[in-house]
């Protein structure tokens, strides 16, 4: 096979140029899907494959196209295996392609090459189309499909499938024999619970879907495949329960996912930022979970989940504040305990956000609000301090953030050292060095504990950032500044929607409410979701009560 034209790569400019002797563009912008894979122009431009973008009955044309599209000159991991299909007394040329490492070679040998090369000898092909013989009688691998569009074949191979081209067939046989190495189902890390299931999502979409199906066992559970990323072709699964989830919600989620025009998508965070309403909004607008049981519970409530290949966190949409106040543990402890812990978490979040700002306000502007003895004690403890109290507070909070950030990066064996260093900075040493007063250390510590009590890491981080804003407001105008911050914050929260559902929706006494009812009282799905079937269970679900015959 001869190379007809090659691009010239300029080392100086880093740009590729048109072929020197052929200034005509190789692919046309008005029809990029047809032949956008042609790069080195090694195939015949007049060929059927090139002009139509479909698989050609001529094997050589397909081979040229594939070599060009996959740049086999440079790509060493693409395997092209040419062989002959034996049918009775005839031999038909064929080749298969797959990526080494992405596909399972054992399956290729056993289920594709072996049947095609040997088992056709006993068949009587007369009167039957070649495609049907190969597809119906020789290829034993399932799932298996016939694809006519070359673009689809290339995408399938890129995703770990094996494509078989046979001379005389105007389609490629694509076998799903993905064989890449991936992590198996493990334990949840960020949503660990004491008494609940210990399974977590992994990085592959299909096992993740299976994990959810295993819990719900509902034939109405739909998993739609949507590809995101024009080059990465990252498979995403849009999951919802037909007959429960609001159709408008599903349509909107589908529309947003399909309308994403980006080259590469690497994780669910990328997808989250691409489909959420506002990227500058500090709080998460979609819920992320790594727990299949939690995702299943959300689906049962009428929500939609989005799984992204390569990410162990699935996106749950829409998310409201009552969802953000929930943790996985809530479903596995007794109602009273769950409500108490939720109350503590909300108090913790409020402390993390407002306590430093309120402390500054009281000390600078509203001395009269606290007992005289206490304010005298505060002033006495600050006598030796060289810094103004605002700066003192900011230094200590930044030191804490520094320790927090370092603790994520530091390797486990030296992790304990960080604890000692942190204890020195945020402890007696800081007080002895007259950098911080003891009361300030307590304020910073309570604020930090409050942030750690937040139901998710993203909320905790958002609180850590926003507390600086409240410190600023409190330092310039006391409680008036704090009031301004809270008012504007609530206005922003109030005007925010997550997929059409108000962010501040609080569906009391329903599933997903601020107050968690006992399971027999969770009769209705959240009103804000406008589900197709709002009734989750009958009014009396514990029918054994009052009826001894059951």
């Amino acid at each position: 096979m001869a190379f007809k034209k090659l691009f010239i790569y300029s080392e100086n400019t880093g740009k590729s140029h048109e072929p020197l002797d052929n200034p005509a563009p190789i692919y046309h912008d008005n029809n990029p899907g047809k032949n956008s894979y042609i790069k080195n122009n090694i195939c015949d431009k007049a060929s059927y494959t090139y002009t139509t973008g479909m698989v050609s009955p001529k094997l050589s044309e397909n081979l040229d196209f594939i070599k060009d599209a996959f740049e086999t000159i440079k790509n060493f991991d693409l395997v092209i295996r040419e062989f002959s299909v034996k049918l009775k007394n005839t031999r038909i040329n064929a080749f298969l392609i797959f990526y080494d490492g992405l596909s399972n070679k054992e399956y290729i040998n056993r289920d594709i090459l072996s049947p095609l090369m040997t088992e056709g000898q006993g068949l009587n092909p007369e009167g039957m189309p070649l495609e049907d013989i190969i597809y119906g009688q020789l290829l034993t691998q399932a799932p298996n499909s016939k694809i006519e569009k070359m673009e689809s074949v290339i995408e399938a191979v890129g995703f770990g499938n094996c494509a078989v081209f046979v001379d005389g067939c105007s389609c490629a046989f694509v076998a799903d024999i993905k064989g890449w190495s991936s992590r198996s189902v493990g334990r949840p890390v960020s949503e660990a619970v004491l008494t609940g299931p210990q399974e977590a999502f992994c990085e592959s979409v299909m096992p993740n879907i299976a994990l959810v199906r295993k819990i719900l066992k509902d034939p109405n559970l739909i998993a739609e495949n949507i590809t995101v990323g024009t080059k990465s072709k990252t498979p995403c699964a849009l999951m919802y329960i037909n007959g429960i989830t609001n159709i408008s919600l599903v349509k909107e989620a589908r529309r947003r996912l399909k309308a994403v025009d980006i080259e590469y998508v690497f994780s669910s965070t990328d997808v989250e930022m691409l489909i959420e309403e506002s990227s500058l909004f500090p709080l998460p607008q979609l819920l992320k979970t790594e727990r299949p049981d939690r995702a299943a519970s959300m689906l049962a409530n009428g929500k939609v989940i989005v799984m992204v290949q390569g990410s162990p966190f699935v996106l749950v949409l829409p998310a409201t504040v009552s969802d953000l106040a929930e943790t996985a543990e809530d479903n596995y402890v007794r109602t009273l305990e769950a409500n108490f812990m939720r109350f503590i978490r909300i108090i913790g979040c409020a402390l993390a956000l407002l306590l430093p700002g309120c402390f500054i306000s009281v000390v600078l502007y509203h001395h009269e609000s606290i007992p005289t003895d206490l304010i005298l004690a505060i002033e006495a403890s600050r006598e030796q301090m060289p810094f103004p109290i605002v700066l003192e507070l900011i230094i200590m909070l930044l030191a804490f953030e520094l320790i927090k950030e370092a603790s994520i990066r530091v390797p486990d064996p030296i992790g304990s050292t960080l604890g000692i260093v942190g204890g020195l900075i945020l402890g007696q040493s800081a007080v002895s060095a007259n950098i911080a007063s003891p009361l300030l250390i307590i304020i910073v510590s309570i604020s930090a504990l409050g942030a750690f009590a937040a139901p998710s890491v993203s909320i905790s981080r958002a609180l850590s950032v926003l507390q600086f804003l409240f410190i600023f407001l409190g330092s310039i105008a006391g409680f008036l500044g704090i009031a301004l911050g809270i008012f504007v914050g609530i206005i922003l929260l109030s005007s925010m929607n997550s997929f059409g559902v108000p962010y501040l929706s609080v569906d009391n006494f329903e599933s997903g409410s601020v107050i968690i009812p006992p399971i027999w009282k969770r009769e209705r799905r959240p009103h804000s979701l406008r589900t197709q079937n709002s009734q989750k269970q009958p009014h009396i679900s514990r029918k054994w009560k009052g009826d001894d015959t059951l």
């Binding site: 306000s361 009281v362 009031a483 301004l484 008012f487 108000p502």
Partner: protein, 363 residues
């Protein structure tokens, strides 16, 4: 999911009306009763409240039918043409601007009094203007939803305050019950009806109502609760602080707060009160700013909200701080007649719209 919210829920209407009417309690306007009637202030407040309630009852029960989702501006345009539309729009904008200026001035004074006595007034005002700008810049949904959070907060704060002071009150201070005389208490005291002037804003909120029938009930119930709260506050204030007032010029609610004692830790809670009062002031200003922007968009096709709000905020700020040649006395005095002008227009227009109301609109 495309679920744009273009309608108020009944609970939101209730909250907005309650906040708008109860907000003035934090201003110096509630001293009006004590100034005119002395110890008869509660009686004056009751009489004014009853008159206000009657006006609200008539204007909501009889005329607040919202047959085709129109507000006062579109109805005026329908019956009196473009000229009528411009006229009512200008009247409403002027009213809203004056009302905003009054609220801004009063709340800035209150904040300055509580938090930073030595700072200039404009410093406190800036915070309210920023909040109002942000509130009005957001979608209407934001204002509607936040009202549901502020209303219970406000109600709780006022009730806790009144109950806290009640134990220290001397009800002998309420006598003589007619105060400075029957003429003052029942006659001049009726001018206190201006306390509830912001009810006219309801006729701008009108088209967002999803259910006119329940909306009418919500408006009336919210007004009644707000009026009762105001009467109770004035009653408590008169019982706690004997007439003649030794601290004229201070805000009555602030004076009451200074008397609250919850034990050694919470020696003074006026700073915390500042949070509640600030929320109310910021919310009322946001509603006013938002309505001005909406009127400008509806009548004059000025649709870019942020661009509209900036000059509005600046003008109201300057007006409130006395940088424009209109005094705050003129502003507060003009609110009363303007309320009646707007109510008069409503009484004139709404009977014309009563024909053809379909039962289907009455959910």
């Amino acid at each position: 999911m495309s679920m744009p919210r273009s309608n108020c829920r009944t609970s939101e209407i209730f909250s907005i009306v309650f906040i708008l009417l109860a907000t003035k309690l934090f201003t110096n306007q509630s001293l009006l009763f004590a100034g005119i009637s002395g110890t008869g202030a509660p009686l004056s407040a009751i009489c004014s409240g009853l008159v206000a309630l009657l006006v609200i009852y008539i204007s909501t029960r009889r005329f607040y039918l919202n047959p085709d989702g129109r507000n006062i501006i579109s109805l005026t345009e329908k019956h009196f043409g473009v000229f009528g539309k411009y006229l009512i729009s200008i009247i409403l904008i002027v009213y809203l601007a004056l009302s905003s200026s009054y609220i801004l001035n009063e709340f800035s004074h209150l904040a300055k009094l509580v938090a930073f006595p030595t700072a200039p007034l404009w410093f406190a005002a800036v915070f309210f203007v920023v909040a109002a700008f942000a509130g009005a810049s957001a979608k209407e949904d934001g204002i509607l939803r936040i009202s549901k959070f502020i209303a219970p907060f406000l109600l709780t704060t006022i009730l806790v305050l009144l109950i806290s002071v009640l134990c220290q009150s001397d009800f002998l201070n309420l006598f003589p019950i007619l105060g400075t005389g029957a003429t003052n208490t029942i006659g001049k005291g009726l001018s206190g009806v201006t306390f509830y002037s912001d009810i006219v804003l309801v006729f701008l909120i009108n088209p967002f109502s999803t259910s006119p029938k329940t909306t009418k009930n919500a408006i009336f119930t919210a007004s009644t609760i707000a009026i009762i709260i105001n009467i109770l506050a004035i009653l408590t204030f008169t019982a706690k602080i004997p007439y003649p007032l030794s601290q004229d010029g201070d805000f009555p609610m602030y004076l009451l707060l200074k008397e609250v004692y919850y034990g050694r830790f919470f020696q003074r809670i006026d700073a915390i009160f500042l949070l509640a009062s600030s929320f109310c002031g910021m919310f009322s200003l946001s509603v006013n700013f938002c309505l001005i922007a909406k009127i400008l968009a509806q009548s004059f096709d000025i649709t870019h909200r942020q661009a509209t709000l900036f000059p509005i905020s600046a003008t109201i700020f300057l007006l409130s701080m006395g940088y424009l040649p209109i005094s705050q006395t003129t502003v507060s005095n003009s609110l009363f007649p303007m309320t009646f002008v707007i109510l008069g227009i409503i009484l004139l227009i709404y009977p014309l719209t009563r024909k053809g109301v379909e039962p289907s609109h009455e959910k």
